[in-house]
Amino acid sequence: MQFRHHRLANGLDIVAEVDDTALSISLGYYVSAGARHETAGNSGVSHFLEHMQFKGTGQRSAEQVNREIDELGGNSNAYTSEDQTVYYLHVIPEFQSQAADLLTDIMRPSLRDSDFETERKVILEEIAMYEDQPPYGAIELSMEQFYGNHPLANRILGSVESVGRLSSTEMRSYHGHHYAANNVCLVATGAVDFEALIKQIERATEEWSSSSLSPQNYAERNEQKRFGEHVVPIASQQYVVRLQDGPNRKSPERFAWRLAANAIGDDGGSRLFWALVDTGLVDSIGLFAQQFDDHGIIATLMTCTPETAVQNWEKGSEVIRSIKTEPLTQHELELVRNRVCASVILAAERPSNRFFTVGNGWVSRGTYETLTQTVENYASVTLDQINAAAQQIADGVGTVTSVGPTGGLHFS
């Protein structure tokens, strides 16, 4: 494994973790453009744009883009999150140059009006699809409650209204600003020919300009609701979400917090699992950590029948509070540490998984971490550190959101 980094004159970063023995490569662009960069006026534009990137360029029609992606044979996809949009291809090494050519070309899409109108319908279908699916928007609603007027409250898909209103002109302007060379990073993992990649990208992006980006919107959160609910008559289960503050992406404490969240609420062997899932009281309950540049959240998500929701929630809260009187033991620490380390090691066998670890690490922290370092970061968490994180989880003041067929439920 060898880490490589090169910055082009236009500001575009190229990073790679090269493993000559790998059977495949993963290649993709990380663009710092997501829901948090949007305003009420263009809500949903990052995600809509992600779709439009596949609709053709000066060199390729939309059909050609799709055909070439399939011709490369591998897996391809894209996603939009709160703070970034990522486009990637997972291919055999022989196709490196073709994959890089295609990915780079679609970063400069034509954004034709006729395609824009057809794709708007697809986005509206996607919104309708999620409306019918559990947890029926519970996560989005809880982010709104928790972040109030902070940009992290913005919905990734936007709304039927905002997507219906968006114009292709607004999208072009958003693209021009956010897809500038210095706001984009090309990440490659696996059997990558790095020298060839630099040469090719340098040529292919020589027309790309950089832009003077406004600094990240690190606004303070100044509104937070303690409780929110959304009644969904078609749902049969109740979905309850609690969000509370956790470490951000750069915090050295994030390893201890992930282990603590895992020991309290992993879905296969944790305090909440033994109390509520193994006993069949709930369908599921778990703790999840998510991190952004300037914020971090710990989410508790429970699914069960509406009649038992309040009682189960109380029991779950008690389990979490009990950490204060019955701290995590050395045995629990070892269990969770081994479990997390093994899953990190197993995932790392595939370049398609390393793509996300290496890419997210570089884009969010500007650093590269070897697999050994990551494992060491988890392995070196002490009992005091995991308990310090667990105590903060138990003490944290959060926002509770309830979504399901029953309204008026009172959660502590």
């Binding site: 059909e63 399939d70 986005i123 996607e126 699809m129 296969g268 093994a342 595939r350």
Partner: protein, 423 residues
């Protein structure tokens, strides 16, 4: 365009089959470049073996097997596996149950020892029965909120009837009625080495693995062996009335079975129809008309029966048009297959064969499936060669010899759809 990978890159070769005297089949594949190992245990006990009034029994048996076995309690089993970082999964199908695990290579034997306890020496503790039952009821209740899954469950029921079309989650009545003796009887009757497959792949040594498996499973005894039943497929239409934003559409029709020499032709047509961004369904339904976010076609095999299954989710006002476009698109296969489509298909198949080599999980599971259906492991170079031999006229002929036949159509949404094509 660069050349596609050669046969050399996807040759497996490193495979060994060992039959235990008691009938258990041990499949092994060495993948020395990995530092991990994985196994899939396929056991000949599925939902079609459940007594009609105890639907959900197979799932509860599998759950109860993991709630105490050998020297360990339920909690000790989970903690022993967590302690060595074993990732695991289990599932119930129509004709079999499976348990699978992936781990860092050095823990393979320790993991297999624990699974030997689970499979050969389960306790079936009475005090865990109510918790297992509640867990199963919770899963069933959660399914109520999954419209796509429910549409597919109805499709199976309609298509394969009340024995082979059962859903692994069972029924509320069935789960409520299960007693400990039903669990013990089902286990005694169906969990046998004969017809069971243990498929291991990863950084392993054949001889040491055989020795270990003989030691762990050699004393397991067998009474019976099942053969693959002949499974019916019914032509039917069904609608689930619900006030959802989208209408779910699921369609199944006859395809060539996994053990048929024309299987790869059939599979190729399914891929051209609905797998990938340039597939016909994706192009016609989503790209040209924006009718759906999700639309795809995939193969479904149950025993000797194979079907093509198409899925789309679309807002109700446009659901009739979506169904219409889907049906015309299927028919379009009969008028021609382009060289471009065939080239893309070959590239995709070959690349996926290379990707499989990165995952011992994928190899263990594929080998088990091959053995279950074909009684042999299909060398990856054989798959490569069979796909490489396909040409457009063979595929066109196949599309015409096997048109959309024996169609099952299930919709879920605010109203039934108008079917303008004869199906």
């Amino acid at each position: 365009m660069k050349p596609i990978p050669t046969n050399e890159a996807i040759r497996s070769g490193n495979v060994h089959v060992h039959q235990l005297a008691n009938g258990l089949t041990l499949l092994m594949e060495r993948m020395p470049r990995l530092r991990s190992a994985a196994f899939t245990f396929m056991l000949p006990a599925g939902t079609s073996d459940e007594p009609p009034h105890l639907q959900g029994l197979a799932g509860i048996v599998l759950e109860m097997m993991q709630r105490g076995a050998g020297e360990r309690t339920s909690r000790q089993l989970v903690e022993s596996l967590d302690f060595i970082g074993v990732e695991r999964d289990s599932g119930i199908a129509t004709l079999h149950s499976s348990m699978s695990a992936a781990m860092i290579d050095e823990y393979l034997f320790e993991t297999l020892s624990i699974f030997a306890d689970i499979i050969l020496r389960p306790h079936f503790p009475l005090d865990q029965l109510e918790d297992s039952r509640s867990t199963a009821l919770q899963e069933l209740a959660a399914l109520q909120d999954d419209a796509v899954q429910r549409c597919f469950i109805r499709l199976r029921e309609c298509r394969y009837g009340n024995v082979y079309g059962r859903n692994a989650s069972g029924s509320e009545d069935g789960i409520e009625s299960i007693e400990l003796k039903d669990i013990q009887e089902f286990y005694q009757q169906y969990f046998h080495p004969s017809g069971s497959i243990l498929s291991i792949a990863g950084n392993i040594e054949f001889d040491a693995t055989i020795e270990k498996i003989e030691h762990l499973f050699g004393t397991w005894t067998s009474t019976s062996h099942k053969t693959l039943p002949s499974i019916p497929a019914n032509r039917a239409t069904s609608h689930i009335d619900e006030e959802t934003s989208q209408t779910q559409i699921a369609i199944a029709y006859d395809a060539v079975p996994y053990d048929d020499e024309k299987y790869y032709e059939s599979r190729a047509l399914i891929n051209i129809l609905g797998d990938g961004m340039s597939s016909r369904l994706f192009t016609e339904v989503r790209e040209k008309r924006g009718l759906a976010y999700s639309v795809s076609a995939s193969p479904q095999s149950i025993g000797t029966r194979s079907s093509t299954v198409i899925y789309a989710g679309t807002t109700s006002a446009r659901a009739d048009e979506t169904l219409d476009v889907i049906l015309s698109t299927v028919q379009s296969l009969q008028t021609g297959i382009s060289e471009d489509e065939l080239r893309r298909l070959k590239a995709r198949v070959k690349t996926s064969l290379v990707f499989e080599q990165e995952s011992c999980n994928a190899r263990a599971s594929q080998n088990a499936t091959d053995w279950f259906y074909l009684n042999r492991i299909v060398d990856r170079s054989e798959v490569f060669a069979k796909v490489d031999r396909l040409n457009t006229s063979v595929l066109l002929q196949h599309a015409n010899n096997f048109p959309m036949k024996n169609v099952t159509l299930v919709t879920l949404g605010e109203r039934p759809l108008k079917v303008s094509h004869a199906i």
